[in-house]
């Protein structure tokens, strides 16, 4: 692929811990991707609006506050509602194993929990991106 992959790194909800989001953003940049970082306190609507205007390949959400079961599927559904079907939706943060299957079922492609090396995230994106 001769174009940079565009990734939206977002912090949905009220969670203020951004160490992970920032480390991921930087790692993706170092892997040659264009990273649009939204900053804190994004509503699902804001995330989707940004994803559309920025025509991203990936929406990567980081959440440590336990609100993932509510917020991640909401973003997926809003994207679908807008007719967006070629964006990879990923999640990361403090997410119990038990919650992962239903998140995947709702449309999140992968969940990256604490301890995941950044290169795993990079490889996943490179392999699973929907638009070449």
């Amino acid at each position: 692929m001769d174009r940079p992959i565009r990734v939206l790194v977002a912090k949905p909800g009220l969670d203020g811990h951004d160490r992970g989001a920032k480390v991921i953003a930087r790692a993706l940049r170092d892997a040659g991707m264009e990273v649009i970082y939204t900053g804190l306190r994004q509503t699902p609507e804001q995330i989707v609006a940004a994803a559309i205007q920025e025509d991203v390949d990936v929406v990567a959400m980081s959440l440590l506050s336990g609100a993932h079961n509510h917020l991640f599927p909401k973003v997926v559904n809003l994207l679908r509602g807008e007719g967006v079907d070629d964006v990879l939706v990923l999640g990361g943060g403090v997410i119990p194993e038990d919650d992962i299957p239903s998140l995947i079922e709702s449309g999140v492609e992968a969940i990256f929990t604490p301890g995941t090396p950044t290169k795993d995230v990079i490889n996943f994106i490179n392999t699973n991106i929907k638009r070449k």
Partner: protein
């Protein structure tokens, strides 16, 4: 501390020894090229009197309870009384949290520590649009005085000390606490506890800010002033380094940025006309207890010495209590792994030892399931027991500051002090902590350290057991705490009920007075107290302040 001649002898002998070891490295190599602390500071093969040849016992170390307090802030430390075992807790509704508090007190916890949910920390009621999905998740949902009354039901506020992790709306929660105590017949003079109330670190690392810096400082200094008269036993601020460290800083940065924040608060308070000795004794700190035990011990000792010198020389404090750095510690959440969670009990034990050998005044130990969810009752019990075993069975509490005099510890203490002072000077040159935050200097430093650490884990320079070495196939099934999703609905119903039962004209009146006063320079605490007692909700009170003060906009430099 050592005579010239003896030092010369040691220097010579050491040189011989070091050289012979180096020669034998080809045959007996060391495990790695570089040895360093958890903060990536280089560590020598051996520490000797040479490393601390200029150490002046009286000047640099002194005695516990005496300036510069390097060896501890109390004369008897744990021989007099153990640190307060204070487990941070709170989730879902006030009723459920109340139960957890009673359980912990029964199990031997000696102080309460309240965790609030994100909407509460950010001044939103449980039915606000942004609260969706967040109610009761990371702490207890408190929408009004009614919830606060339930939270402390059956808990005598004249007997327990309570720490509340609340920052931007600290004034409101403190007012609620005072009001609950009043209903219990306990006057505010008897109340003991802490509010975190440290907005600068919110801007730096934690993110639960509401108002812009100037207005936030006003609320903070209002609290200092109010408490110095009405709630004299209350610790009005917990200047925090914990979160700065969790965000990825090094040990020296943790000390430096925390103390820089402290300097900003002291300056702000003095500017309002307060005398330093009037409020400084009630300032407290909150540090992290990280993995590298020896570095952490050095860190706490350095922090005490740095703060004491700054209070004495820079702010001309006269009282000893103004110069003492008292602190609460929490073991490092970010070091705990989702992989093989039982290993976390061992990590927390090491971190507990670090905090205790470092002289902490109170301690929260994390539970093993930290990287997965909020702790179950079982997990939190083990965390508490960790503190109790260290206190009663390890022997480290039999004497004060037992690691003092260790060549390594004293050398590292000096090193951290020097590095921290360097950062503090740079921040001073930038115009102080608030300015340094505004232009992103502090955040950038932390981000760089965080990234460096991540890369060193991925390159296997740093080993994390279970994550990049000694891995297993994770079975995944664990007993975890789950917050009932109905909490949000329950809180909404409570709010509806409250709004229909209270005297709404009184609420309106107190809120309009608050708005008026917010536009002046007056101390807002009495007016917040009035609104709280009228059962105005947290969201309503903060809403008024948001209108007058505006909201903070984050500086992000990646």
């Amino acid at each position: 501390m050592y005579s010239e001649k003896k030092l010369e002898d040691v220097k010579a002998a050491f040189k011989d020894w070091d050289e012979s070891v180096n020669k034998s490295l080809a045959k007996y190599p060391e495990r790695k090229e570089k040895f360093s602390t958890g903060s990536d500071t280089l560590v020598d093969r051996l520490y000797t009197p040479i490393h601390v040849e200029n150490l002046d016992y009286e000047k640099d170390l002194g005695y516990p309870g005496e300036y510069p307090f390097t060896r501890g802030v109390q004369p008897t430390m744990y021989r007099g009384r153990f640190w307060t075992m204070r487990q941070y807790a709170g989730f879902a509704t006030a009723e459920e949290s109340n139960n957890r508090y009673k359980y912990l007190l029964e199990q031997g916890q000696t102080g309460l520590s309240v965790a609030f949910d994100l909407p509460t920390q950010i001044g939103y009621d449980s039915d606000h649009a942004l609260s969706e999905g967040e109610v009761g998740k990371v702490g207890v949902a408190i929408d009004s005085l009614k919830d606060m009354e339930i939270l402390f039901d059956g808990i005598p506020l004249d007997k327990v000390s309570t720490s509340m992790t609340i920052n931007a709306p600290a004034s409101v929660l403190l007012a609620m606490y005072i009001a609950v105590a009043e209903k219990q017949g306990v006057s505010s003079e008897k109340l003991r506890g802490t509010i975190q109330n440290d907005i600068l670190k919110e801007y730096i690392a934690r993110g639960t800010y509401i108002f812009p810096p100037e207005q936030s400082m006003r609320l903070i200094t209002n609290i200092f002033e109010y408490c110095s008269k009405e709630v004299p036993q209350w610790n009005t601020i917990s200047i925090s380094g914990y979160h700065i460290r969790e965000a990825g800083s090094t040990a020296a940065q943790e000390v430096a940025f925390t103390i820089a924040d402290g300097i900003a608060y002291v300056e702000a308070a003095i500017k309002t006309g307060l005398d330093v000795d009037d409020f400084a004794p009630r300032l407290s700190f909150f540090f992290n207890a990280h993995n590298d035990l020896l570095e952490e011990v050095a860190k706490y000792r350095a922090a005490r010495r740095v703060w004491a010198k700054i209070m004495k020389e820079r702010f001309k404090a006269k009282k000893d209590k103004s110069m003492q750095l008292k602190f609460h510690t929490q073991t490092a959440g970010s070091t705990l792994t989702a992989q093989q969670p039982d290993n976390n009990i061992i990590r927390v034990t090491i971190q507990t030892l670090a905090a205790v050998l470092g002289g902490t005044q109170s301690l929260h130990t994390n539970s093993r399931d930290e990287a997965l969810a909020l702790p179950t009752e079982d997990s939190v019990k083990i965390a508490l027991r960790t503190q109790q075993v260290v206190a009663h069975e390890s022997g480290v509490t039999e004497t004060i500051d037992p690691l003092a005099g260790s060549y390594y510890i004293e050398s590292l203490t000096n090193q951290i002090e020097e590095e921290a002072l360097g950062y503090i000077e740079r921040i001073d040159n930038l115009g102080g902590a608030t300015k340094a935050i505004e232009n992103g200097y502090i955040q950038k430093e932390i981000q760089n350290s965080a990234y460096k650490y991540q890369m060193s884990v991925e390159s296997l320079d740093t080993i994390v057991v279970g994550v990049n070495k000694y891995k297993v196939e994770e079975t995944g099934k664990r007993d975890l705490l789950r917050v009932d999703p109905h909490v949000e609905m329950l809180q909404r119903n409570k709010l509806d009920k409250l709004r229909s039962e209270r005297d709404n004209s009184l609420v309106d009146k107190t809120l309009s007075v608050l708005k008026e006063k917010a536009e002046t320079e007056e101390n807002l605490m009495p007016y917040i107290l009035d609104s709280v007692k009228a059962y105005a909700t947290l969201g309503e009170i903060c809403g008024v302040l948001r209108e007058v003060f505006g909201e903070y906009e984050q500086t992000v430099i990646l």
